[in-house]
Every structure is written in structure tokens, then in C-alpha cells.
């Protein structure tokens, strides 16, 4: 069983580029580094715009930067996909659209 990932890897990526918290804050449009500090220490989850800014700065995908958070969300989506698949199991499998849907849900449920 693989170890759960950290909620995010912002700190290690920032250090990889040799940037300070204040410099990353500036790139995000902030005056101080306190918001970056809170994100790095897993105290706050950034909103989508800020998360995309991190992706632009560090050139890493969101799922890589926010590995642990992505794992958690992926697992929850998988559970709900399984429930939905069970609900749809009574539908006639003949139609192509139904088959496509079942395949998509089945792939999600495997996560």
C-alpha cells in the first residue's frame, strides 16, 4: 500500500527554485509571505486561482503539487462513482451512451 502523500509540496518546490516566501507571494500578487506560509504548512487550502498560479510558478501540475489533497478527492470521487454505477446497473446496457457512461464510472470507481 503506497504511503499517503503530503497535502501539498509547495515548500519543496519553492526551495527547488530558490525562491523565498516573499518572492512567491509577490508572484501571487500578495504583499506579504504569510499566505504562502499558511499554504506551505497545510493550514489553508488555496483557492483555484491561487492554485493555478502555483502551477504556473512551479511548472508542476496541480495533482502533483497538491498530491495528498488530490489523493483524498480522488478516493471520494471513486466512492461516489461506485454508488452511481450501482444505481445505473438496472439500465439496459444496449445503448452506446450507456456503455460509455458505465466505462467512465467503472474507471473512476477503480481509483
Amino acid at each position: 500500500m503506497p504511503s499517503p502523500q503530503l497535502p501539498n509540496y509547495l515548500l519543496s518546490n519553492r526551495k527547488r527554485l530558490g525562491l523565498s516566501q516573499e518572492e512567491v507571494a509577490f508572484l501571487l500578487g500578495d504583499r506579504k509571505g504569510s499566505r504562502v506560509c499558511r499554504h506551505e504548512h497545510f493550514l489553508r487550502v488555496p483557492d483555484l486561482e491561487v492554485a493555478l498560479a502555483y502551477e504556473a510558478i512551479f511548472k508542476r501540475s496541480l495533482s502533483e503539487l497538491f498530491g495528498g489533497l488530490f489523493q483524498k478527492v480522488e478516493k471520494e470521487v471513486g466512492k461516489r462513482a461506485k454508488m452511481l454505477l450501482e444505481q445505473k446497473s438496472t439500465q439496459s446496457p444496449g445503448r452506446k451512451s450507456v456503455q460509455k457512461k458505465r466505462k467512465a464510472l467503472s474507471d473512476l470507481a477503480e481509483c
Binding site: M1, S3, L6
Partner: protein, 183 residues
Amino acid sequence: MHTKLENTKYPRVLAIAPAVKGVGYAVLEGRDVLVGSGIKCGIDPENKEAVKNVQRLIAQYQPEALVLEDSFANDSRRGKRVKDMTRKLIDLGKASGVETALVSRTQARMAHFSEGKGTKYAQAELLAEYFPEEIGDDLPPKRRAWDGENYHMGKFEAVALALAFRRLAGVLPVRVLGSYRSK
């Protein structure tokens, strides 16, 4: 000894090493991904600051293994304060539910040098090459006889412990890792 760790292919490791102004730490994930390292400052005769700092690190990084220098090993030249700190950190590991491993200096050298022998600085040089982006820039100049130990060396010692644990755990029997010896 490490039954919980056996079920996890690469447990997240938090390694702690004594440092000039406090403790050095390193966090390793996967086979050899260094996701965090640094120095946590704070020294007092009763090691309260060190324990507080490591407690915060455990809360932040949620490691599956806590790796410490075996200051009780025969090859250790650590003094009373560091031995006391090691005991307190072992107790902290137990209280936090984190498996704790002790790695001696000799074991760390075995993990990093082909003949098992090398200086602390040579080890730091190897690690700076191995993790150039993460700690490469922090490699201090070589210490001269009259210099005190550089501030950053504690971080390199911690990285050395973390990587040694990872390498030794897969290669040598678990019993090679030290265990806590009561007073």
C-alpha cells in the same frame, strides 16, 4: 520490530540530527524524494525546545518513521545532553504513534561510502550532489581546524540519516537498526 513499516513500501521518514543551534531535520518520501529539510533552532539543557520542535515537525509531516542518531552506540561520542535528547525523542515517537529507528554513525557511513569510511564533510558533499536542488546551495565550505561547525551541517546529518535508513532497511536485516536501551 517495524511491523507497521513492513506494510508500507516506502514509509515517509522524518530524520532528526543534533545541530549547532538546535536540531537538523529531513523528510524523505518515496525512494529518495527529499520533501523537506532544515534546522530548527532552540537549545536548552533539558532539551525542551528540541522536543517541542520535533513535535511540530511530526504534526506537520505525519511521518511513518522517526529516524534518530543512535547516540548510545559504541561509536557515538555524543555527550549527556544529546543522549538525553535522544531518549526524549524516542518517548515522543512512542507517544505520537510513530515507529522510531536509531541509526549509528557507522551504519550511516556504511550506507553512503562504498568502504564504509568517510568524513562528515565528505558525506555532506555526496548528499549535496545527490540532492543538488534541495540542499546543494547550502553545502558550507570545508571546515578548518579552528572553525566551529557550520550551521547547515545538522541538516546534512539529518539527510544522511534519512537516506541511510532507507538504504539499510531494504538491504540489511532490521535488527541492524538499534533499539532503545533503557538507562
